[in-house]
Amino acid sequence: ENKVYKVGTDLTFAPFEFQNDSGEYIGIDIDLLNTIAKKQNFTVDLKPLGFNSSVQAVQSGQVNAMIAGMSVTEERKKSFDFSNPYFIGGISMAVHGDNTEIKSYDDLKGKVVAVKTGTVSANYVDKIKDKYGFTVKSYDSADALYDVINVGGADAIFDDYPIIDYSITKGKSLKRVGDIQERCDYAFAVKKGTNQELVKMFNEGLKELKQTKEYDGIIAKYTSNSSQSNDASSIDESTFIGLIKNNYKSLLSGLEKTLILTLVSFIFAMVIGIMFGLFSVAPVKPLRMLSAFYVDVVRGIPLLVLAFFIFFGIPNITGKPMNEYIAGIITLTLNASAYIAEIVRGGIGAVPVDQMEAARSLGFSYTKTMRKIVLPQAIKIMIPSFVNQFVISLKDTTILSAIGLIELLQVSKIIVARTLQSSEVYLITAIIYLVIITLLTRLAKILERRFR
């Protein structure tokens, strides 16, 4: 029976390790490790702990090894034993695929070069920028970095070359220019003095893979722009249809969350809103004032401010931590309930006073008149407005992505982070919302026509 080794890895470092759309970890490191394990008859129990935690986990013996795009340094050699390098990392310059002007670093004079803040590339361009006479722009996110070249905000970027290659496989119009700089070896690592047999198996497996060219296949899968499959799911995400095919499941699940969030908060909001709406037409003045106060306050605070206050502020008052879903539902509920209260008030107000008078003159009490005469008519008037309020709540769920709720828009953000196709993904998202909202709005209009 195979021996099981726990191996730590990073959470997300494409193309070495990252989640595909089914949530499985794939990438160069993972594929290499799994193939080697098969050849060498051991079993891998993968632990995606993140880079730092993996280092700690190896050192404390919680995992046997780690593979995480880790470069071999003198300092690390003091506490790790490394395998033979399985990949030579480094940084490279890249320009837009259509750029024919920049053929070498010498052509950078007067140009703008973009890098990600705090990376080896950032340090490197800082060193050479005076020599080549270009200016540097720093970006905080990889997404922004790869967008900026696309939209002409920079002439060239510097980044780890495998990441550049991976972006190219994802359909970014880029090409690498110049040599790879600041080369370094990536290797598999175990705690110094332990698990030597594992290192040996890794080395032997790696050698075999290189001989059988399986190694080249794995590298090419993630870094070349050849027509062969570049993803576990073998769908090209650089096209609109590919994107949809590959992500419709996660988008649908995001939509489901959006709908559930909307529905749950809407149900609560109906209860509270109808209550305050009835208060607002009650013959008792304090109730009317209470209702007006509630509605004015809730409608006087922007939804996102309300969300922040609830998510960050309420815990301070109650002393209990707050889950972001609960905070989101409370926010949406409060907000929608104020508008529902107004709908109820408006609906009741739209029933002619005549109706109240006719019923009262027959001897019905106020409450009975409300129940038997006014409300049955008011509800017909309100239903289309309720549907419209549902649409507004649905739209408002997107705002809650700011406090970390995972709904359709957040799912889209996550897909953008992986595919780097921001415009397409957001367009798809916009269309999904548009279709659903249009359908609901049509429904409201039909109901309105029916009930008038």
Binding site: L362, K368, K372, P376
Partner: protein
């Protein structure tokens, strides 16, 4: 005969606007009183004070020994004895004609459903609309609506009926049908107070005509007296304009 409605120094103000200025009237059982007068003179307000749809500012309204201005009077009970018919009919649009009529008897008087429906159909026959019992108000003509409204008020077996310009929202052709129903009611001895501009009807049916202007009663007497021999010049003036079109 017995006094059914006693109005005593009735004053009604909207803010500073004095609409009824110390009205005194006593209406006896089986009286048919037509209230006439120019627009804004307070006719509707007077009528609505009789079943407390408007809260009097001061004074007394006593209906059948119930003092409406007394806080302890159960107004919902008193109203069961006072039917009211509005200018705009005010049928309940979400209920069928039959349900419009039976709702109050069943719900307030706890009348048996079958019995209430039987009575409703009798009333509909009396106003000539038995075939419309399952129709909804929106499908009726104005005259039909007003006749259903009268049947609805009668279903509670009121002692008194109040009418506020019952024919003024009707097409000329339909006015006759409704007035006919009211004539029949008068014949049966119902106590009625009718605000109207139909002078011909007032002459023919009323046993008493009241002319109001500016919140005062300026004339009060038999139709013959008020129409042919009005006490106040304002009355004469008004009648002159309205009759000589």
């Amino acid at each position: 005969m017995e006094t059914k409605i006693l109005v005593n120094k009735l004053v009604k103000k909207y803010g500073d606007h004095l609409v009824l200025d110390k009205i005194d009237v006593a209406i006896k059982e089986k009286d048919v009183v037509c209230v006439i007068g120019p627009s804004g003179s307070g006719k509707s307000t007077f009528l609505r004070c009789i079943n407390k749809l408007e809260e009097p500012t001061s004074g007394q309204v006593i209906v059948d020994k119930f003092d409406l201005t007394d806080k302890n009077t159960n107004i919902n009970e008193v109203r069961q004895h006072i039917g009211m018919v509005f200018q705009q009919f005010n049928l309940f649009p979400h209920l069928s004609v039959l349900d419009n009529i039976t709702l109050a008897p069943i719900d307030i008087k706890k009348m048996d459903k079958n019995e209430a429906e039987k009575r409703a159909i009798e009333l509909l026959e009396a106003v000539g609309l038995a075939n419309k019992k399952d129709a909804y108000p929106d499908s009726l003509s104005g005259g039909q609506k007003q006749r259903v409204a009268i049947a609805r008020a009668l279903a509670m077996d009121p002692d008194i009926m109040l009418f506020d310009e019952p024919t003024s929202a009707l097409d000329p052709e339909m006015v006759g049908e409704v007035l006919q129903v009211m004539k029949n009611l008068a014949k049966q001895g119902m106590t009625m107070v009718i605000v109207t501009h139909e002078m011909g009807f007032a002459k023919e049916v009323a046993n008493r005509v009241v002319f109001m202007d500016g919140g005062h009663i300026l004339d009060d007497g038999s139709p013959d007296q008020v129409f042919n021999n009005p006490k106040s010049e304002r009355t004469a003036n008004f009648l002159n304009r309205v009759l000589n079109v």
